[in-house]
Structure formats: structure tokens, C-alpha cells
Amino acid sequence: MSEPHTADEQTRIVAALSSLHPDPAATDRARAAVIGAAAAPSVRRPLRWVRPSLRFALPAAGIAAIGTVLVLSLPRGEEDRAAVPPGPQTESCVVQRGQTFRILPLEPAVAMRAGTATVMWNAFDRSIRVADAPEGGPFASTRLSGPDVFGTIGPAFEQNERGDGVAAWVDARQVVAVHRSAGGEWSEPEVLGRVNADRGPYNGPAVAMAPDGTATVAWPSGTGLRGARRAPDGAWSRSATRDPAPLYPNMPGASEVAMATDDDGDVAAVWMLAGDGIGAATWPVDETGWTPTQKVLSTVSGPISMYGNARIVGSGRGFVLSMLVGRTTRVRDGGLIAARDDMVVATRLPAGASTWSRAVRMSPRGEVPGQNTSVAGPDGEVAVAWTATAAPGTPAYQRPGFPPRTLRVALSQDGRFRSTLLVPGARGTISSPALALGDGGQLTVAWTDGANRNSGRNSSVRVITYTAGQGWSGARRISDRGTGPLTPALARDAAGNTVAAWMRCAGGRDLVLQVATRPAGADWGAATRVQ
């Protein structure tokens, strides 16, 4: 029996409906109420996780074959996940999701070059601001965005070794970009395009700044990726990917783009495809647009059903992608039952290559990873970090109550990840790891520590340093204790000068920016508020 409507009619109806969204504040209240009710002692029956309804069969062939594996980006389930705290929550400020595949884009963007720190942040007063601080000097803040900004997402900001910078953010679904040459002023904001309406904070743009000053901006739009590139002193050119159509209609559009540039100036982008999986494309330095989209599949053994949190860094003349993947064990009545075998994997795209290398599992069995992040050092080595909880069935798993989180890092050496390290002093209600990597594998790690379990009222930013051959320094707190702070960001320059920035609740629902710096060879200075 034929459908009583055409595909075009369906498309227009869905487009009209896509302008409706639930109120974010009401969503937060509902979430808190539901989670609170689920934690009540009366909820005895284990919750079995079942995917949103999808009808498909996993390919019988192994994942090593390039097949179309339908994957989902929300792998969590089972009864013990109800006991996993959502992370340090702030009572009167923006709620942060701690243990999910997705990190809300609340963190500021930072850069450090020749002792000058640059911070860019969403001031949540309807403005995007940037501040520079020459070595030892105060931060001077400038407002980049115009008035009446609503629904801002971002900013994303990157700076090359010369000091050329590019930044982009979303204002009311419009992608806006600014740029500056080394030593110059920021340009006027320019609108480059529009993002999808249905992915909320995961529509943020990504930026890349090549060594020669060529800037690239990418954002999710529709079922694919849009991009714009600007050579120094040139105008913006556009390019769009052509992604495979989602398997089912009405699936969410593309989202969560991440991007990096390598030493040659080539750019690689990864993003959540519309409805399933992670897509990847490159924009080579001498080309006018994106290469054809590839669906990135993990070649770790076993049926993979879930991908998320794609993070990409330029590593020498190539790229390293880290992401979270999860397994399924069986299919029942068209739905999927997920196993608790999520893992962090990394895969590499060497210079000039068209396919990603075999993915390497980095997280140990018996742990369930959550938030992940990565960074590349000046010598091309890469560090990846992720939070984790003990998996059910392991001796470290605690019930009832909240299983503590730990923080792990993996450092590459000669291009290979050889082992993982447990970050000392990072345990409990921790979240939002951030990394900075210097020559010779000197690693700085920052995270949010919620000392009061879920209350968030006694949260702080802590940092620690690892030096190859010497081990870990002592973890220390670099912020005041209080409500928030949220999502620290780190950056360091070639000399070892380091800057950390984070958002902090200032009462009510106001978020403010705080910054601390550490000159090379010295200790961290006091945190200051930047306005």
C-alpha cells in the first residue's frame, strides 16, 4: 500500500516541525526530576537499555571489512548507569553532563604563544569576548560579537605559531567567523552559513589555522559538513561534503564536528553523521574543497554499534583520531541490547593517505570510559585522556552509591600508543579533562574536581604534570572552591609557558571566566577573573 504523502511533502513537514524545541530550562528541570526519581530506593527493577527503534541487521562479516554498520551515538544503558553521577552539577548555574559521550561545549578556548596568552569565551551576556595578556601582564578584553546574540554556541579558536588566528561561533544558527594576522586586530564578524536546528549545542563550528595563515572553518549543516577557507588576505571560499543519506527519515542531522591541521597545512574534519557513525573528510592545502566523505569504522574486533566523541589532532604530517566505541551483543525484535564494553580507540591517517589505519584500543578492559580529549605536541606526539568508571562485575565496582571516576592518559612515542597511565589525584566526581603537551612528552593535565559528589558547590580545577622519565608532579588546585567551575581549557607554548581557563558560576545563572598562568619553570599564579 502506497504512502498517502510524497517524499517532498514529508521533507517540508519535517522542516516546519524542526523549528520547535523544548525549553532548555524546562529540560534541565525534567532531567533532574527524572534522575532523582530513578535514584529513589523504590526503583528496584534493573533498567535494561533498549535503543530507539531501528530495524536493521548487523553484517555477518567482520568489522575489518568496510561495510555499512549502522551505529548510534548514545550507547549508555543498564541499571548501573543509573548510579553513575552525571558529574559535578551546579545548583544555580549551567548543568554539566559528566559521564556521557558528549561534552557540552562550555569550555573557553585558549592559546599561548611566546609568553602571550589568548583566551576566547562565551560571556553568556550575549557576547563572544577575547582577551590577550602579554607575559606577566593583565588581560585586556575585547567584545567580538554584536548585540542581541541569542543561542550562541562556541567559540572555537585556533592560532598558529606565527600568531595568525581564526575563530568561529554560532549566533541564532548562523555561523560567524573572525580572523586576525599576527600582531593585527580581529576582523569584523562575517556570516559563513547556517547550522542544523535540531542538534542544539552540538552544532558548534570547528576551526583550523595552517602554518601559512590559511584559515578553515567547518560546521554541520543538513546531513553533511559545510566549510569555508580563507587564504591570507583573501576572501572566504565554500565547500560542502556529500554524505550518505541517513537510513531512516527524520533522523537528526550531522553534528559534533572536530577539525585539525597538520604540518603541511592539510585539514581533516570528523563529525557525527546524520543518524549514525563518524564521517571524515580532508581539505588538502592545495585543493578547493573536501575530499569524499568516509565513514570511519573501528577495526577493533567485535560488532561495534556506537561511536561518539570524535577528537582529532594534527600529528606531524598526518592526523590522529580518538573516539569512543561500544559493542552490541545481540539484536532482539529490531532493537539493540548494548554490552558494557565501551572503549577508547585511536586511529591514524598518515600524510597523503586516503584511508584510516587500524584502530587501536587504548582503554583497559574492566573500565567504562566517558569524556575523552586529545592534544598534539610540537614534535608530533599525541596524548589522549578520558574519564572512566569501573565496569560492572569487576572488583572495583561499587554498589550501591556512585562509582568513583578515574582519569587515564595515553601518550604516544614514535607514533605508537604503548601504555596508559592513571592520573594520580584524579578520582571521585571528576570530569572535563584538558591537556597540553610539550616537547619530550611533558604533559599537563587539568580537570574539574567535584569534591561534594553531585552538589557542585565545592568544585575546583586541579592540574598535574607528567614528565617522561621523571613521573608525575603532585596534583594541585589552581582555582577557588565554589559552584562550578566547569570545563577547563589548557594551552602552552614552545617555551613551556602555560595558561588554564575555565568558566565559573558567579551566582544565579551567570557564568564568568577565570584564568591562571604558569610561566615556564615557575609555579601557577593565582586565578583571576577576566571581564
Binding site: T6, A33, V50, T100, D333
Partner: protein
């Protein structure tokens, strides 16, 4: 539970909008439905997708709300989160108003089928009606919507 909420909140809210026609009240409806679902979890046997089971609860909760309120939605109010009109990725506010103005029965099947993504069979289970009833309501809804200019153009092209 947090991840379960995150995975199903938007779908549940959309079901609530489809049944109640009231986007502003649908957050409360969906929240109440989630709380009812938690209390009813021992009764979920997993033989059908969780979303279908949850959305059945949302439908019942929304119907309870409509009966309590005993009113039609005020179509002159702006929907929360509505974007400015126009743009290549945007929809038609006028068509949206027409969708919200459908009869309760027609709006429910249109929203569940187009916006939430349920098959006709799943819509039938969620609404507790026969499959043929869903198809006939869809057909009548499309007839009503084709009076809208945004869909009239498609009809003319199709006729040619």
C-alpha cells in the same frame, strides 16, 4: 538513567506536542510521562522497542492533560525555540501553524509518523488504534495540509 533521559527526551516531547498541540505544556507532559515510566519499569518486558512503550505512556499522559485543560492551543503564541523564518535550512512558520491546527487525531498521527519517526504500525501501537485508522487519519491530514501554499506547489508539480 541520565543517558536514557537524554536519548528519549526529545522524542517524548515531540509526542506530547503531537497529542496535546501545546508545545509550552509539553515539557511538563513529557516529564510526567518519564516519571510514570520509571514507576512502570517492572512492567516493561522488552518485547517491543523502549521508545514505543515510553511514547504510549506519553500519549496517555498528554490525553490526561488535554482533558484537564479542556482547551485548544493558542496558535498565536510563538513556539519555544522557533527560529526566524527563511533560510535554506529553515521551515515554514505558516506550515507549522497549519500542522498545529490539525484535529487532535490527525495531528497525533502526523507528528508521530513524520517528526518522531514511527512506522505506521508503531503509531498504531502508541495510539492504541488500528493500522487502517492511522492510515486514514494520515490521508485526511494530508488532504487538509495540501490546502497550504507550501504543499500546494508540490501537488502542482506532481500533477504535471
Amino acid at each position: 538513567m541520565a543517558e536514557l533521559f537524554d536519548a528519549h527526551w526529545h522524542g517524548a516531547w515531540r509526542v506530547a506536542v503531537g497529542v496535546s498541540g501545546d508545545p509550552a505544556a509539553s515539557e511538563d507532559i513529557a516529564q510526567e510521562a518519564f516519571l510514570r515510566a520509571i514507576r512502570s519499569l517492572p512492567g516493561f518486558d522488552g518485547r517491543r522497542p523502549f521508545a514505543v512503550w515510553l511514547h504510549r505512556i506519553v500519549v496517555n499522559t498528554a490525553i490526561d492533560h488535554v482533558r484537564r485543560e479542556r482547551r485548544r492551543p493558542d496558535l498565536s503564541q510563538s513556539a519555544p525555540g522557533a527560529d526566524a523564518p527563511g533560510g535554506p535550512d529553515g521551515g515554514s512558520p505558516e506550515l507549522l501553524a497549519a500542522l498545529l491546527a490539525l484535529t487532535d487525531e490527525q495531528r497525533a498521527v502526523v507528528f508521530l509518523h513524520f517528526w518522531v519517526g514511527h512506522t505506521v504500525d508503531e503509531v498504531a501501537v502508541v495510539l492504541g488504534v488500528a493500522r487502517g485508522t492511522v492510515r486514514s487519519r494520515l490521508a485526511r491530514a494530508m488532504t487538509a495540509l495540501r490546502a497550504h501554499p507550501d504543499l500546494q506547489a508540490i501537488a502542482r508539480v506532481t500533477d504535471v
